[in-house]
């Protein structure tokens, strides 16, 4: 491969605009994560099928109202991210920065509610060693929460990157979309997790 081939390659790359929002790599990340979470969900379902009574009784210790609050927090947060990118496309820098910040705060609130939920249970003596249902409850929601925290780091970076910008470039949009894609995945995972743990009979 000589230098001319390289230039051609770079030129071809520039001539063909991407069709996916954000980088290709984040979509592989998202796909991979969904795969692993599916394995977790399937494992949970398999174990539940072997002891439905235990799981049904244990589920009563969970408060679906809190789960719903968490769902609303994440959904609203995702919506803020959508608004942030939309306003970024129109160069409304202050609006997009504010939207990223709001999304961050809502995500943080999600973590806060989770902590409260865990604390309330631990006080009642329910830990992940109590029984299989609670093992899954704690592990699934904790791994999800770690994804939320990673997403918060991403949102924080987007907010920081957006702050005080004079004009928004296509590269910026791609970076925003990359972060947004991850955050939407985190949201999607919760939308599956919530009914699976809190609601399904």
């Amino acid at each position: 491969m000589n230098a001319i081939d390289l230039e051609t390659k770079a030129a071809l790359r520039a001539a063909h605009p991407r069709r996916l929002p954000g980088e290709v790599g984040i979509w592989l990340f998202v796909l991979g994560d969904i795969l692993v979470f599916s394995a977790l969900f399937l494992t949970f379902s398999y174990y539940r099928a072997h002891d439905p009574e235990l799981y049904r009784l244990s589920r009563e210790a969970l408060d679906p109202a809190i789960g719903l609050i968490n769902t609303c927090l994440l959904l609203t947060s995702s919506w803020c991210v959508v608004l942030a990118i939309r306003s970024a496309r129109e160069n409304l820098v202050r609006v997009s920065t504010a939207m990223f910040a709001l999304a961050f705060v809502l995500g943080l609130a999600f973590i806060g509610v989770k902590v409260f939920e865990y604390a309330e249970k631990i006080e009642r003596g329910i830990t992940m060693l109590t029984n299989d249902f609670f093992m899954f409850y704690y592990v699934l929601t904790a791994i999800h929460a770690m994804h939320v925290m990673a997403g918060l780091a991403g949102l924080g970076y987007l907010c920081y990157r957006s702050y005080g910008k004079r004009s928004i470039t296509p590269v910026d949009i791609q970076v925003y979309e990359t972060g947004a894609t991850f955050w939407h995945m985190v949201d999607l995972l919760w939308i599956v997790l919530f009914p699976l743990l809190y609601l399904v009979h």
């Binding site: 390289l6 770079a10 592989l28 791994i143």
Partner: protein, 240 residues
């Protein structure tokens, strides 16, 4: 630049890791599927007593194969260093990868094989002692999240920090290295559970991470070969 030396090491690595370690550790010594964490001391001691010869020979093969696994860290260093040089970055990610990778291999491969071999050395000792050695070895094999995570993070940031028009490694490989971290998180849970999906022989703490990690290794090695062969990477040097 003559790339034959790197490629020879890499081929030795492929043979060592894939062939010898696999044959030794899996087929001969029988560590896949893993021993059950909830097995009694007597059961474990019997395992080592009855299979002493095949366990010892399998582990010896695995230890020998480790000779060729260690250079992987250095080969990554060389390529990550190329990225840093061309992008005018300090030798941070490349070095962090070395630190993480070295510790990961020491603590996650060398130590466990030695400890298992020590367990098979005197199988007539008290069963609790044999089980202790076996426990420690398995824990070292599965649970050292930190050094592996450090290595993966360094590789990810190293790859993603490449600002050249045609980067040395494809960017998605950087993201994949980030992703693999999350798949390894259940490793921390093996201390709490002796059965189920989060035990050291469980589907989420052992099988899924192992299969994914192995798949990533294959992909990384393929792209490492390509990166070594990229004579034109430095030519495109775009000022950063």
């Amino acid at each position: 630049m003559d790339t034959r030396l790197q490629k020879n090491w890499l081929w030795a690595l492929v043979v060592g890791m894939g062939g010898v370690f696999g044959v030794g550790w899996v087929a001969l010594a029988g560590y896949i599927p893993p021993h059950a964490p909830d097995a009694s001391a007597i059961e474990i001691a019997e395992l080592y007593r009855n299979n002493a010869t095949s366990i010892r020979s399998g582990l010896i093969l695995a230890m020998f194969a480790s000779t060729f696994m260690l250079p992987l860290v250095a080969l990554f260093y060389v390529q990550l260093r190329r990225i840093e040089r061309v992008n005018n970055a300090p030798a941070v990610n490349s070095m962090i990868q070395v630190v993480g990778g070295t510790i990961a291999l020491t603590v996650g491969v060398i130590l466990p094989t030695m400890l298992w071999a020590a367990a098979s050395f005197r199988p007539e000792r008290s069963p609790e002692l044999t089980q202790l050695l076996n426990d420690i070895a398995w824990i070292f094999f599965i649970a050292p999240f930190a050094p592996f995570a450090t290595q993966n993070l360094a590789i990810a940031f190293g790859i993603l920090g490449d600002r050249q028009p045609v980067p040395l490694f494809p960017r998605w490989l950087g993201w994949t290295n980030l992703w693999i971290l999350f798949t390894a998180l259940p490793a921390f849970l093996i201390f709490f559970f002796k059965t189920g999906p989060f035990a050291w022989n469980g589907i989420m703490a052992f099988w899924v991470p192992l299969i994914l990690f192995f798949a990533l290794m294959v992909v990384m090695i393929v792209y490492l070969f390509k990166a070594i062969g990229r004579a034109d990477y430095e030519i495109q040097k775009r000022p950063v």
